[in-house]
């Protein structure tokens, strides 16, 4: 039996009929069509499905869609503002922090959470903050560099 939930994603309010066992990543990708959120493992190991739920980064494959009822979500599509790309997105481009790009959306959101919490994180705090997001291409250093360049 599907149940109707209300959820705000990237400042847009949606009503979605979801199955009890449906994951949030599944709803975001296939019901809302926001395919920027990736699914790399389905069990919370890789972080590619990271979204920000009420201000906290979560693996959306480990959250049931129903748990998002009445809550607010930011996905990668909601990171840029009316004035264009978020400084983090610009930094990722400029520092060469993007290769295959599959981890990039989740990585940007985890990095954003780090900066939202603390605008001047140390390198160790940045590494800790993105340690749940696996990247096999870059070796992380350019990503860390990009986040550092945005931090104050």
């Amino acid at each position: 039996m599907k149940k109707l939930i209300r959820v705000t994603v990237n400042d847009v309010r949606y009503e979605v009929a979801v199955k009890p066992n449906q994951t949030l990543v599944d709803m975001i990708r296939y019901d809302l069509g926001l395919t920027g959120t990736k699914n790399g493992c389905g069990e919370g190991d890789c972080g590619a499905c990271t979204v920000i739920l009420d201000g906290t980064p979560v693996n959306s494959c480990l959250v049931l869609a129903m748990q998002a009822d009445g809550r607010t979500i930011t996905t990668i599509e909601g990171v840029e503002g009316e004035k264009g790309l978020h400084p983090l997105q610009k930094a990722f481009i400029e520092k060469g922090a993007v290769q295959c790009g599959f981890c990039t959306p989740g990585m940007v959101l985890s990095a954003k959470s780090v900066l939202d919490e603390n605008p001047a994180p140390s390198e160790e705090e940045i590494r800790e903050g993105i340690s749940g997001n696996l990247c096999r291409c870059t070796g992380y250093l350019q990503i860390i560099d990009a986040v550092k360049s945005v931090g104050k």
Partner: protein, 789 residues
Amino acid sequence: MSDYDIINTRAVRVDASDKVRGLALYVDDMKMPGMLYGALLQSPLAHAEIVGIDTSAALRLPGVKAVVTSKDAGLVKFGVSPARYDETVFCHDRVRHVGDNIAAVAAIDLDTAMEAVSLIKVEYRELPAVFTVEEAMAEGAPVLHEAYPRNVTAQVHDEFGDVEAAFAQCDLIKTGSLVNKRQDAAFIEPQGCIASFDFSGNLILYSSTQVPHYLQRIVAMVLGLPVGKVRVIKPYVGGGFGPKAATNHMELAACLLSMKSGKPVKMNFDRRQVFMHGRSRHQFFHTMTTGVKKDGTIMALKHECYLNGGAYSSFGIATVYYAGSLLGGPYKLPAMKYDGYRVFTNLPACGAQRGHGGVIARACWEQQLDMIADELGMDPIELRLKNMMTAGDMTCNYLDMSSLGMKECVEAVRDRSGWESKKGKLPPGKGIGMSCGFFVSGAGYPIYRSDTYHGTVIIKLTEDGGTALVYTASAEIGQGSDTAFAMIAAEAIGIPMECVRLESGDTDFGMDLGAYSSRQTLMTGLATKEAGEDIKRQVLEVLSEELHVPVEDMDIKKGLVVFKKETPDISGLRTRYIKEHRGWTDNPSLEEPLSFKEASRMAFLARGSIVGTGKYKPPVLGGGHKGAAVGTSPAYGCSAQVVELSVDEGTGKINIEKMTDAHDCGLAINRTSVESQMIGSLSMGLGEALYEEVKFDDKGRVLNDDLAEYKIPRALDMPDVDPVIIESNEPNGPFGAKEVGEGAIMPAIPAILNAVYDAIGVRVFELPLKPERVYMAIKEYKLKKEKER
């Protein structure tokens, strides 16, 4: 820094902004009207006869649209090398590993497809299975494929020079070994595909492949379709590293399901299936004997290797050759003997992974060279520099060093790491180690025997003039090839990057063998350069006719026409251009120099669509011996690395503190991308050295089939890296460029092994260097020392 306008810079990637915005489409992001979802039935047993398959209950399930087995797929064999085609889409008589494919279902949604799969009844008669090389080669062991007794799927026996005669002249002969564990490429995007077969008989397959061309050929061959009816499109791909360089069963199953149902069918591997499909790095057992003179001159190498290959050949025949041939360089080695054996076991098949075949061989030998240096009382760097090849040298197995910045790499890492102030001077528990590496810039021959071009590129100018559309079937899988080719096209034509738009990864765009063997920068790069030069020539020919200036007296640079001698009167030409653009606000004033945009518009008016073409195939390479093709390349990249680390003697835990890495890529088309490949390679090497290992239970099931238990480096695990680009100007590459994507992994593992020895005084001959293994090695070493006292 250089005379180039576009290449050799840090231009931003053409795909970066779509990727940071979440707009880049990967195959699972795509959807088609009426699309069905497919699922595979895979064997739970490692080795069994199939007695019967009953699909009737699955077919009765509401929502199921098609079920396919070997009866639908037929028994055409495929694989990677035509000499070893040994797989069918579905097993019909026997399963050979856990995860072997039996049937597939397409249904209205994934849940229904998976439920249907669970309703297919398969009756098995279990057979004894073999999981290790020893078990598989034992007398009377079950044979996986009848054509290969003792389960030896491929063997190599090569000797170059006279090894025994060379050993007779040696002052020191050293024998040692190294064994690794099976690894996983652990790309973050699991394999996926969508097949769409239409009523005109055309099949489009969207897939997360590294090799659209090979996939197109195998699909056509296995399904009995004309190649021209099969189009493979590679959307963005979330990493490959080798295992996505071969056709997988799911791709073929999706095609069959679409042909049977008449609907598009999407299929994905889950992470567990990625491990069950495998095709990543083999387990290698290397034994090497090296002979040197007392001044450190390397004289000979005798090398034996066994590979645990899993249940099918896949890339394995090439792997077993590469494991031997890539030791021909970068040191002067007059004599080399190699005996290699790849062995079938009832595990998922292994294949190609970054540094194909050469990574563990390199690690084994570079550790042995360090031991030899130690015994001779030489600095390991001195030993290496003494034996180093230089440009123009030929290895004993006929690999031609057309460029080789090896010495420059070694000197760079020595100086930048402060080697001389650290080697032998660090406190106990801290170590420094180094290694060299060496790899091909593209395989010299295609996987199937053919005189085919390895890459063709088409560039078409838009009819309005001003934009160059580049079409290549090459595969951007994250490494940055699209950006490199856009840069090469812009440089060759003489226009800014913004004037180039590039489309890739579609077999309709031409011929390209794809992303493997670090081939694209050199091979597709040369084809792109030729196509760009063809465009420039055509545009200048028209200008020459219009302005009566010889072609050789003109050029295009930074989007403007350059007149090398006198500037002709361009007013007539400009007036025509402006007249065509009445009302436009960006028309050039009379004083401005003639632009490429105007010139290319004139070219269209004179000749119709301006299309430039380029193509590349390597010259005949290598020696005449059996297997000579594997290891040949038009150019070789090389690298050197210094690793600094500490070892906690109480726990055996290794902490890598600094990696200094130099790579000779000939010329860096994009400096940022080259460094990215270097750092990414190091990170993979670090993971493989320290913790990566696919584990199986005694039934052949993967125990750690997820990214929690199969551990790859996290952001917290990466040390400080100092990447140094060395540019030796490769004569056979585009603008002097050659590989970086795979070669950069070569020195990582041995440099770590050598640094561990420097830290704790004990050599470890088994990977990965898990804390317990290192701890036990330290303990044994201490016991031995005590006994000696």
